[in-house]
């Protein structure tokens, strides 16, 4: 299949998701509200701590808001486009429904990852953008079009890293079978993306900054807006993107070879 057919498939899936959402409007509103409230909880934490201090590891309140907003932006993209698809993949592997995706004429990973859009997550992408925009305004920054485009690219890298990490975690289901709760490790890890890199010292620095891709997915884009584009940081993020995306796909393909369906 060529690229155009994949685009067509994706559009058809998106259309189906929109129609479905329109059918369950109350559900959509409730879930959008749920996500919105959780974002508000995290913003509240920033507001409360900065009532009592002026900076955290050299980051002022609105710089911190920019960081948290960036972290949210990355996570909303994951929630809107990939989370429920990958979450269902784990369930399908266990139940044997995964066969259905293998039977489709297309790349299985593409078919799995793009089946459904969560419009409530997509709606909250705009909320996260508003948080970032508000922080930019309060900081008195005037990013040029190029700055914003670079920021968008770095955020995209963050999304791809998260996708790779999540794909890897979910692919472990091929080996583990019943693996309730491992998907939760993703959220635990993402908590660290709301912290400035400078707060990590010693072992924590090695684990969360260098080994796990938790901190840089938000810190590198946010710093690019705050302090201008830093090529070294961008290259680092790009290398990590290639590594984690590659790792996720490799683990998935390995698992796929192991997959022997479930009994009917």
């Amino acid at each position: 299949m060529n690229l155009l057919s994949y685009v067509k498939i994706w559009l058809a899936c998106a259309r189906y998701s929109i129609v479905r959402t329109m059918m369950f409007r109350f559900d959509f509103l409730m879930w959008a509200l749920v996500e919105f409230c959780w974002m508000a909880v995290n913003l509240l934490l920033v507001a409360v701590i900065y009532r009592h201090t002026d900076d955290i590891a050299g980051w002022t309140k609105y710089q911190m808001l920019l960081l948290v907003g960036t972290s949210m932006l990355v996570q909303r993209f994951i929630m809107g486009f990939f989370w429920s698809n990958l979450f269902e993949m784990a369930r399908n592997i266990r139940s044997g429904h995964f066969d259905f995706f293998l039977a489709q004429p297309g790349n299985p990973l593409f078919m799995i990852s793009t089946r459904k859009l969560d419009l409530d997550g997509v709606a909250n992408i705009f909320v996260a953008m508003a948080v970032v925009a508000y922080a930019i305004r309060e900081l008195g920054l005037a990013p040029s079009f190029v700055d914003l485009a670079l920021y968008a690219l770095l955020v995209l890298c963050g999304v791809l890293i998260n996708y790779g990490a999540l794909l890897m975690i979910v692919s472990l289901t091929f080996w583990l079978g019943a693996s309730q709760g491992i998907e939760g490790s993703y959220f635990t890890l993402m908590e660290f993306s709301r912290l400035p890199r400078e707060t990590f010292r010693g072992t924590a620095n090695v684990i969360f900054v260098w080994i796990l891709p938790a901190v840089i997915v938000s810190n590198v884009p946010a710093r690019a807006l705050l302090h201008g584009f830093e090529p070294a940081n961008a290259l680092w993020l790009l290398a990590v993107t290639i590594l984690w995306l590659g790792l996720g796909i490799a683990v998935f393909n390995r698992g796929l070879r192991r997959y022997a369906s479930a009994s009917s």
């Binding site: 559900d27 409730m30 879930w31 509200l33 749920v34 409230c37 959780w38 508000a40 909880v41 509240l44 934490l45 409360v48 701590i49 009532r51 009592h52 201090t53 900076d55 955290i56 590891a57 309730q180 709760g181 491992i182 939760g184 490790s185 635990t188 890890l189 908590e191 660290f192 912290l195 400035p196 400078e198 707060t199 990590f200 924590a204």
Partner: protein, 268 residues
């Protein structure tokens, strides 16, 4: 006597079925250690350049979060709301309508069993991390804190469970209640003091929160144990907490009787 024996058996059954899930609890406890690392890093950085925030030093604040974590595994409601809603939806609830057993009492016995298992399992990672934690743990020495903290903890467990129970009963009216549950979890996380100690909020907000049941879920017992409340606030808090226990039990009863009127026993 025989009435109690029923619930003792429910408790023992709950104990058995929850020991089956020991790995789930253990994994959850392990993740919560990561959350603790997040808390230590964040607050450690916030305290740089000052010794006190809201009248408490860094170690006092860290102790608050450690006690809170233990509290969550001992008295927090995990997915009781979901389990109850599933029993209603599947029609499993019908069997309880025919037997001389109180559904609330039955579920509460299982809740106590589940928390005994998860609470003890949650202590494991904390014991492992103790060499790192112990220099940061500071507890006040007044004896009254234990004497008032334990009943506060017991009533907090009632409030936790009863709120979850009420949400579960919403399944009589709504098909899908998961979004309600997660929404209310966000409210509980803030107003129960799980995100930050409530005393760090502006005074008007802190006073307002004391009138709500969430305050008595986690913050209240934790704050008594870790020295964030004085004796007077603890005593008056216990009175309000008792009020909320009774009110919520009443609400649970109303929802149960009203819900049953709507309930049509399908299948089972």
């Amino acid at each position: 006597m025989s009435a109690l024996a029923k619930y003792r058996h429910a408790f023992l059954l709950g104990l058995q079925s929850n020991i089956v899930y020991r790995w789930n609890f253990a994994i959850r406890a392990l993740f919560s250690l990561f959350h603790l690392a997040f808390v230590f890093i964040l607050w450690g950085a916030a305290y740089k350049g000052q010794t006190q925030i809201g009248g408490f030093d860094l170690d006092q604040t860290l102790t608050y979060f450690v006690v809170l974590l233990v509290m969550q595994f001992f008295i927090g409601a995990f997915n009781e709301d979901y389990q109850i809603s599933e029993e209603i939806r599947n029609g499993l609830i019908n069997q309880f309508l025919l037997k001389p057993i109180n559904y609330y009492g039955y579920r509460f016995s299982i809740f106590v069993a589940a928390r005994s298992v998860s609470g003890l399992l949650a202590l494991l990672p904390i014991v492992v991390a103790l060499p790192l934690l112990k220099d940061h743990l500071v507890f006040p020495h007044e004896g009254w804190r234990v004497a008032l903290g334990l009943p506060a903890m017991a009533m907090a467990a009632f409030i936790q469970f009863t709120i979850a129970y009420c949400f579960g009963l919403l399944a009589f009216w709504f098909l899908e209640i998961q979004s309600f549950i997660i929404l209310s979890l966000a409210v509980e996380t803030v107003l129960g003091g799980q995100m930050f100690p409530l005393d760090l909020m502006p005074p008007w907000f802190f006073h307002l929160s004391q009138w709500l049941p969430y305050y008595y879920q986690m913050y209240f017992p934790t704050a008594i144990f870790t020295g964030r409340l004085d004796m007077f606030s603890a005593f008056s808090g216990l009175a309000l907490q008792a009020f909320w226990v009774v009110t919520l039990l009443g609400l649970a009863h109303v929802l149960w009787t009203r819900g049953l009127r709507r309930h049509t026993a399908v299948g089972g």
